[in-house]
Every structure is written in C-alpha cells, then in structure tokens.
C-alpha cells in the first residue's frame, strides 16, 4: 500500500499556496518512510490524475474560497469534500472526469482519495507567504493528515496475522 500526498497551489499568490506549504512540512514530518511520497503541484485535472497513478491511496491538499472564515479546514470526513481551487482544471477536465479517463485508459488509480482544503483569505495578491489566520491552520492540517495517515497505517498493522 503506497500513499501519495499532493499539495497543490501557486506559491506566489498569497494563500493560494497553502497546500504547497502544508506539503512542504509534511515532507519533513514523513521523511524516511518508503510507503508515502509527498509532492507539490501547480494545477489539477489531468495532471493531478496522472500524478496519482500507481498509488493505492491519495491525500490532496488545496486552498479553497467558500466565503467562510479564513483558516477554516474543510474535509474532515473522507469523501465529504470534492473540490478546491486547483483540484479541477477548467482547462481540461474536473478530477472525477480525469479519474474516469485514466481508469478507462488502463491507469492504476487510488481507490481512496481524500481532499483537505484550507479557506483562503487572499488569492489575488502576488506575494509569497500566507495570511496570519491561514498560517495558523497549517500545523493543524499537518497534524491531522499525519494522524489519519498513521492511524490508517496502524489499522493495517493490526490487520496483519
């Protein structure tokens, strides 16, 4: 069982880069494990689907704008969130369509894809760095991803004969 964690966003567009920052920190926390790869990406749709090929499980972390309080973490339950600023590409396909295409083309794609998204305050100013409230959400997402990742691993350990 191999997992991919994808942080997705734009690193020079304020809070839009929150997924990348979370991925950067997760890469440090999960370094040395050979059952997980952490990558940063800049666009969704077909490219995201292609990145997930060959993994059994995927965690995708993105920024989102729903109008809620900045820093709100969306996606605490698996399968409840299926969107984000970059998960879909308006240039080629949304993620479900991309996954259908990939499977139809014979790619091996994860059965379980979990999406986390952090509510952004500013996605229109070109600058590096996050707004304070979004910055505060980063360690929380890191801990929750690590926890769910480890508990899933633990469950698998317990399942072993």
């Amino acid at each position: 069982m191999k997992t991919i964690i994808v942080g997705i966003g734009n690193p020079v567009l304020s809070d839009d880069g929150v997924g990348l920052e979370i991925a950067r920190r997760l890469a440090g926390r999960l370094a040395g494990r050979d059952d997980v790869d952490v990558v940063q990406m800049y666009g969704g749709g077909l490219r995201l689907m292609e990145a997930l090929a060959g993994y059994q499980q995927a965690i995708v972390i993105d920024a989102i704008v729903t109008g809620g309080p900045p820093g709100t973490i969306h996606g605490s339950n698996p399968g409840t969130l299926w969107t984000g600023r970059h998960i879909h590409s308006t240039h080629d396909a949304n993620l479900p369509m991309a996954l259908d295409l990939g499977r139809a083309a014979g790619l091996s794609l994860p059965a379980e894809i979990r999406i986390w998204a952090v509510e952004a305050a500013d996605v229109e100013t070109v600058r590096e760095g996050l707004s304070p409230m979004v910055e505060e959400a980063v360690p929380a997402v890191v801990e929750r991803v690590v926890a769910c990742f480890e508990s899933a691993c633990l469950e698998r350990e317990l399942e072993k004969p």
Binding site: G9, I64, R85, H91, D92, A104
Partner: protein, 495 residues
C-alpha cells in the same frame, strides 16, 4: 438596459465573467468578458534579480509554464547580452515542441473537440473528453494519456523538471542531451507525428464529412475579418520559437513585419473601465471599438491567425494540410499566398495543423546531432539592462519585457500574453454568438450557453495568464437582469 451576466464559463482557464448588455428593444447591445484584478505582479518582480524571472513567471500559469519559461530566458539573453550557442537554441525549441504537442492535443480532445466529436447540441455533461471516447473509442483515451506522458517525460529530461522547467539560463541551457536521450526523444517525436496525423484524419472524418459541421465551420456567426498576427522565420514560414512578428491585413496583405523588440512601436493597449484586462490594438490603425475590418485596429493572435500570416509551413506533412485547409475553406489566393480565413471555428482545425507541424519540427530537431553538443551556454559578460523576449505560446504571441539596473535587478516588467491579444476578438465572438440567440428579449437558454462556450473555447483562452491569476472550479451561471439592472432569473450549469 437589460443585463445578462454569465459567470463564469465552464472549462475556461482562469476566472472569467461574461456580461451581455441588451438594448431597450431586448437585442444584444454589447458583450464583454470581465476578469478580476490580480494585484501586485509587477511590484512582486521589481527589485528581484532578473535571472529569477524564468522561474517566477512560470508560476503565473499552471497551463503554459513552459511558454513563460522560454519567453523569459529569451528576454534574459538580451538583458545579459549573451546569444545562446546553436545547440542551446535547438534544445529550447525541442522542449518547446514537446510542450506544444501536449497542449494542443489536450485542448482538442478535452476542450475544443467535444463540440464537434460529440456534437454542439449534445448535453453539456456529454461534451467532454469522456464523451469523446464514448463516441470515437476507448483507444483514443489511451492515446491521449500516452501522448501526454511521453511528452511530459521529454520535457522533464530536457528541462530538469516535469511541470516547471528549470534549465533555461541567460545565454543558453543548463543541461546537455545525451545520445540515448536524443534517440528516445526522436522516438517520441515519431509517435507524435503519427498521433497528429491520426488526429487530423479523425477531424476530417467527423467534421469535414458531415455537412452540418462543415456548415458550422464556415458559419458567419463566428466570423470576424480582423488583422492577423504571428511569428515567422526569414522565409515567412510559421515558427513557434523565434523569428519576426508579422501582421497581415484582413485581405492577407503585409501590414507590418518587426522584431519583437519593436513591439511598443506597433501595439498599443486600450483600457475599458469594466475590466482589468487590456485590449491591445494596432497603433497605426488606432482603437475604434469592438469591431472588425481593415479600419479597426483589432487583431488576432491564434492558431488561425498564425496560419494566416504564414506563407507556408516548414515541414512537409503540415504543409500538405495547410494547403488542404485553405483550399477547403475557400478563401482563394492573392499576391501569391492564400488569403486569410476568418471563420473562427476553423481555429480548431488550424490548431491540429499546428500540432502536426510541432510534431514534425520536434522530429527534425531530435534527428539533428547538434542537440547533443556540450556547447549549450554563452557566459554573460555584461548587463545590457533591457530585454524583450517573444515567442508563440499555444494561445498567441507571448512577449516578456524586462528593464534592469546596472546590477541586473529588475526595474520594470511588462508581459503581453496570447489571450490578451485576443481579448477584443473574444468579446466580439461572444457578442455575435449571443446576437444569434437573443432577439427582442427572447433568450434561447441552453443554446445560448453552448454557443457562447463554443465562441470562447475556440480561442483556448487562458485567463490565469492574462490576469496572472489561477483558476478554481467554475460552474456556468447566467444572470438575466432587467433594464434597471435587477436580476430577474438565473440559469446555472455545474461543470
């Protein structure tokens, strides 16, 4: 005045909004594309070392980072007065052709093609890449995925990284190409040529043999007789990587040919109060509103415009299709060259001819032993302080202009991207599409959305480039407003 606002459009890169203004009789008065402001791009760049720009600018768009990377390194060649050795130029162009093949392929199968292959009046849920494989076969889906994969691999091999290349340097390229790599790329290029030929034959069998589709291709609803812009080499053959910018008038006569360093002498930008996008126009003609004709400065820089400015294509198979294109679209010859085609839906066909050209050009470059030369860099020895790099991005001519201080720190940055050149024309096409379906206040709802989407999509607009912003998920929402601006109903379609 009644206002119909469509916000935003499906399958359009970047955040866009369409406003349709009706006159008092309920007919279309004007149609515009609105985009949100992106704050501070130039300020973000000013003060940075100029050599950061190939990486920084490739971040502004998730779709065409390769184009920004290349235009940026070309501008840096001038900033640092270092002309790259021939091998470096060839490696850059080789990577760029692999990118072009991927981008044009994706556009056709995922965005533009479904309107034709699945049909313009099919439900929106079917007019997508899955609809294409249902209609034309699963094998096509596999081929599209394989085409993307092999070209992404080539881009990674040559560029140092898969999505955002890092190998471009002022005066050249940071990586050499080994002989086994060259052979692998050559093999990928051969497959690209086969795939491009297959795609063109698919287009011909589905579109050209269907009289309704052929009629649509030549439809007046999508016709604008504007000037055309594109890059050509010394023999007036289309070139994506380098050359002079050529502009021909609506009849195909030369209007201007200039090096990109003279762009400010030829292009000016019109500003409207309702959008942050600028509308470039031909300075010598002037801005006379959103209209076509030889007395309007509106021009286009699209795959169709590029074929219109080229006397011919430099590769053999693409040249065959180039001739077939103009013979079929029936514009005739004048002054020894084909007269321009102005029916904008033909842009989809033009894009596929470009796909074949890019694949053939990639094969030529990959077959050239010089790409394995170790001489890939001229070392910069001075700071000239200004550079203008241009090339053809998939969506039109891309210009990067930098001014630096004596230390090479940026003082001024100006970018004109492909979508921006076409912004006026896109608005005109939306207006024409809307005019055909809104009469005396009567709105043909689903037809309206489809026709406007088709008008947009043929330009392959990339608003993240144009606004330097990035996209999210975009449902299609139409607000219909009364003449007082009050919203009276909303039509909605999710992506």
């Amino acid at each position: 005045m009644k206002r119909i606002s469509i916000n935003p459009i499906t399958r359009l890169e970047g955040h866009g909004k369409i406003e349709i203004f009706l006159d008092e009789a309920g007919n279309v008065a004007n149609a515009y594309l609105q985009v949100p402001e992106l704050r501070g791009f130039e300020q973000f760049c000013v003060g940075r070392p100029a050599e950061d720009m190939p990486i920084v600018t490739s971040r502004i768009c998730g779709v065409c980072p390769e184009a920004h990377h290349m235009a940026s390194v070309k501008a840096l060649d001038q900033v640092f007065a270092a002309d790259p050795p021939p091998a470096a130029k060839k490696i850059r162009e080789l990577l760029y052709m692999a990118f072009f093949v991927t981008d044009h392929t994706t556009h056709f199968y995922a965005l533009g093609g479904p309107d034709f292959i699945v049909g313009p009046d099919a439900p929106p849920a079917e007019r997508n890449i899955l609809g294409v494989i249902r209609k034309a076969g699963l094998e096509i889906g596999k081929q599209v995925i394989e085409c993307r994969a092999r070209n992404h691999h080539v881009i990674q091999m040559l560029g140092g990284r898969g999505i955002h290349p890092t190998a471009g340097l002022p005066g050249g390229w940071s990586k050499t190409v080994s002989e086994p790599e060259r052979q692998e790329i050559q093999q990928a290029a051969r497959q690209n040529v086969e795939f491009a030929l297959f795609t063109l034959s698919l287009f011909e069998s589905i579109v050209l043999k269907n009289s309704a589709y052929r009629e649509m291709l030549g439809s007046e609803a999508y016709c604008h007789r504007t000037y055309s812009m594109g890059t050509v080499d010394a023999r007036n053959c289309l070139n994506f990587y380098d050359g002079r910018i050529r502009v021909v008038d609506p009849e195909g006569r030369d209007f201007a040919v200039f090096p990109s360093s003279d762009y400010l002498g030829h292009i000016a930008e019109h500003v409207e109060p309702w959008t942050y996008l600028k509308f470039p126009f031909l300075k010598r003609i002037g801005w006379h509103g959103f209209r076509d004709g030889s007395d309007s400065g509106v021009y286009c820089a699209t795959p169709l415009a590029r074929l219109n400015v080229a006397d011919r294509l430099a590769t053999p198979r693409a040249q065959e299709f180039f001739e077939r294109f103009y013979e079929t679209c029936g514009s005739g010859k004048a002054g020894g060259r084909y007269r321009p085609v102005h029916h904008r839906l033909a842009t989809h066909w033009a894009r596929l001819i470009e796909l074949l050209y890019a694949a053939e050009r990639m094969l030529e470059l990959a077959s050239d032993a010089e790409v394995t030369s170790p001489e890939v860099r001229s070392i910069p020895r001075e700071i000239a302080g200004e550079g203008i790099g241009s090339m053809e991005a998939p969506r039109g001519t891309l210009i990067h202009h930098y001014v630096t201080d004596r230390e090479g720190r940026l003082r001024k940055v100006n970018l004109i991207v492909g979508t921006t050149h076409n912004h006026a024309a896109i608005s005109m096409s939306i207006r024409k599409a809307a005019e055909s379906l809104i009469r005396a206040g009567q709105v043909v709802e689903e037809g309206l959305l489809n026709r406007i989407e088709m008008a947009f999509r043929l330009y392959d607009p990339c608003l993240s480039c144009a606004t330097h912003s990035l996209p999210g998920e975009m449902p299609l929402v139409v607000d219909i407003r009364s003449h007082e601006g009050e919203r009276i109903r909303t039509l909605r379609r999710l992506p």
